[in-house]
Symmetry: C4
């Protein structure tokens, strides 16, 4: 959702050609398609959530406060990479759609890109929110979400260049506390990434999740695998089944 | 669903041009598209629910007792705005499709428009119905639905011209009792709007919800955010997690 | 699902023109469209369930043992109305697609048509199955499913020519015991219809539901309203909320 | 998901014509369509699961580690039948798409084909995973999943050439323990098939299910019927309703 910080950023240019491509694999075509899928899974209803893709030295970002299933290529922001995270006014936008604001998640996406990601997805998945609440109650505010010996864990990397987790491994996703303003999550996200350098995702209590990956396919399928595990974990909890064997 | 009151209203005219437009953003095109989406979310199955849009001095209303996913532009009623709420016979219909009746929610939609709304949505969402029952049992018949410190709350306005709710705010949605005839909900809705002048939604016990917004996008995304919160609240209740921190 | 009884019925003719029409409202076009919707709701997966429409003196029936979301107009059986229920060999088929068998629900559909229905729908909805189990445990094998004071009840007729149920009415759906062969349900269905002459639906324990209506739109929307109520009832039971106020 | 074993297999040839057909019933067209459906049911998100079809002396296999809803005909592997299960390097691939790996489930699919199947489906359905956990806790590690007197059971064969299960029969699906590497499940699958020669499916604890059938339609509808029963069983368990009458 839009913040006043973002609204202060000036329109600098309108390089429409940056978001015009016949290639379905172009980021300006992938972002609308991904957002439609995420909407249908219930991850980004009510304009929640967002998606960003790095393509060479360009960052493509979905706009803020827009119905995610209706995003068009022409609604997409483009940043020159690298760029400043703060202050927002000095970010190097090379395309800004009129009347729209870039996602308030922008500094969080940039944090993932600094970390080598090629794509970052933010959802408000209810399963993600519920596991953050269950972990807090069962294990305290500093605990991670942990689950083990479920096949789908193999869909999550063990860390950069370390291959995928194995069936007998325990998947561990850090949880950070939510903040009043989304951009203020950035320092918490950075701290979690530093503390858990192998993670490809950070849960935000009472809010949702940030998932990234080396490229679009990896970010999306890792996001799907995690959501599968969160949903399974909630159902397991209802049935009195422990998450870690 | 149709009421005898509505059935008494005479066909006055058939201004077909009012519902013919190539513009996908025209109300006569938006209402069918919204109803298809709402049907797929399970909000308006069995002909339940409805949608109305104010466009300048015209009110567009989905018909009553019709399969919501099959509504066509030509099925849409148009009222001259402003118009009488009661008696229904004296409402200024400037387009009435033959053989159809306007939504029994019409006076409720008109109440929202008198309050400045640009679009009003009525759903029979099961999550909405369940929270009305849980609130009644846990907090009594006069209590509102309340939830706090969940990110999605930021999708709901604090009140007209007051910006959006913050993460630490408590969202409060009034609940009115259902009546035998839908149009008789109007006085309850008006009373709730007077008592809670900042609300953009009213729950109806054992029935569903009315949500409105300054325009179509806001009404729809507020409706999605509320439904997300109701579903989350039901799941939180099952898991023994409190709604207000 | 197919039974040996059905397989014995001989192919008598192949009046292809009976299922060829450009009119989307023609039964041969409506049955495939309805079955696709029912598949997406999870009501007829695994070839379960079926649909039949009476159109003048013709009965259109979906085939047995076929993937319901893939049914084509050319797969549809046509019976001359009236026809015999038993023995199946003497039913007046005026169109039989080669290699297919008519739905094993045929005698049950015919029972609904004898009762004045224009369309009959059979689903294996899990919510329907669960309420039959909950009613049996909570109220005994002879009890009906009953629910009251829920708005969606108004989507169900009070009886033939008696208008719709009101909000304060109690909806009552009889439940019959399942049998080893689907066609043997017929006498139980007939008995339930005789005992509850106003009902438009009969639940079958551990199996699903038969819903009918004066025409296709009514049968479909009544089926949706009932399924909404069954799902709500299961969730209410989980939350300890009584079905009848 | 891909394994190192599979990655060692060399590209041998590229018979593109084997996966090019205008016939929607051709395996190279059916696999993408099935995978899209399975993705929408949530069975193969995060690149989990897979599908394989035997067509004459050709085996068509979906690739590994690919977004299942995006599979195209050109992504499909073709094996000459019969072929070796082990070592993977000696399997007779007559078509290998560049840059892709065949499903790690390949030896499991081949086991089903050796057993006479025409199609084999592997899903990570959460309902399947949950029943494996409930059976283990309630009945021990050696117990099968069992359910009786539910109509949908009639969608599952009693065994090869033995017709379908009846309503009063008890459906029994063996459960094998998961292994660190998917291909190592093969011996467990073979043992389960030997011990339960009539079964058309094997559950894998904490992983999912393998379902096969004499042809594509049977494998798919049997997979749907089983998933229906697993979901129903989980809900029955939540409601305290026993699986076997």
């Amino acid at each position: 959702m839009a913040s006043t910080e973002e609204q202060a950023v000036a329109v600098t240019t309108n390089n429409d050609h940056l978001v015009q491509s016949e290639d379905p694999e172009h980021p300006a075509n992938l972002i609308p398609e991904l957002c439609r899928k995420f909407y249908n899974w219930g991850w980004v209803t009510g304009t929640g959530g967002g998606t960003s893709i790095r393509h060479g030295d360009h960052i493509f970002i979905a706009p803020s406060g827009v119905q995610k299933e209706l995003i068009k290529s022409e609604n997409i922001f483009v940043l020159q990479w690298p760029t400043k995270k703060y202050p927002a006014e000095e970010r190097s936008y090379i395309r800004r759609p009129l009347k729209l604001n870039p996602s308030a998640c922008t500094p969080l996406f940039l944090t993932a890109f600094e970390n080598g990601a090629g794509c970052c997805i933010h959802t408000h998945s209810q399963w993600a929110v519920l596991v953050t609440l269950l972990v807090e109650r069962e294990k305290g505010p500093d605990a991670c979400f942990e689950i083990s010996t479920i096949e789908q864990i193999k869909g999550i990397p063990r860390g950069k260049g370390k291959g995928m987790l194995g069936y007998y491994d325990t998947l561990s996703i850090p949880i950070i506390e939510n903040t009043a303003f989304e951009e203020n999550l950035t320092s918490g996200l950075e701290a979690a990434m530093k503390k858990y350098p192998d993670t490809y995702a950070v849960l935000v209590r009472r809010h949702g999740i940030y998932v990234w990956g080396d490229n679009v396919a990896k970010a999306k399928t890792q996001c799907e695998s995690l959501d599968y595990l969160f949903q399974l974990a909630v159902e397991m909890h209802k049935l009195g089944l422990p998450w870690v064997k």
